[in-house]
Subunit: 128 residues, 2 copies
């Protein structure tokens, strides 16, 4: 099934994309940045920088961290963080409805059988 | 100014994203894959694979190549290729209108001054 993913680029380096939203959702589900990182197959360090940059975009934090004892701390998504996820997911869902015509046009022109196995259309790699 | 970029994922490995559309536009403008690659700051090889995979998605070609003499050949975008670019750009433009409310909500919560220079919200990188 066709999916539409959105990347919203604000001024400067600020953006919201699919990866950031998925990470935020997984932090909410697992209650931990480390576990969310593991679920996405990325290093803890990378997940930390991703969520840190994402959170720094806004005046309000997206997550809150509780430092625990021996077992380590946990992380929870703030009400504002949940709202950001909801707005993004609602936009994604709406995009498929709004763009049903152009997406239908493109789908109708896809190669058959499965284009992943279709032969390349270009015959050589000689520079043109 | 805020921009919304779309990535349309069809079944299998087929997708249309900003990079593929930009490359196709640049091939049209420059009449050459090599010059389009240069304009995007990517290698000819990478541009070739990108446009080859993009073109193989569809039953109709996106570009046509003319093999030239000493000076090398040229590449032109087919009417179908131009239509694909138009549909994508129209979707991008429409997205900003359709999503004016959620984008406005997110913009209103951006940190000031410029979030690119804002301090990180998280204080440590200790695993949680």
């Amino acid at each position: 099934m066709t999916r539409i993913r959105l990347r919203i680029d604000f001024d400067g380096e600020n953006y919201i994309g699919h990866g950031r939203i998925e990470l935020l959702e997984l932090i909410g589900r697992h209650g931990s940045i480390a576990k969310a990182a593991q679920a996405m197959g990325m290093s803890y360090k990378r997940a930390w920088y991703l969520i840190d940059g994402f959170s720094a975009m806004f005046r309000e934090p997206l997550i809150e961290r509780q430092h625990g004892g021996k077992g380590g701390g946990s992380a929870t998504v703030t009400p504002f963080g949940r709202r950001v996820v909801e707005e993004y997911r609602a936009m994604e869902a709406k995009a498929l409805t709004v763009f049903v015509e152009p997406v239908g046009f493109l789908e109708a022109h896809l190669a058959k059988p499965s284009p992943a196995r279709a032969k390349p259309k270009l015959k050589s790699r000689k520079a043109t």
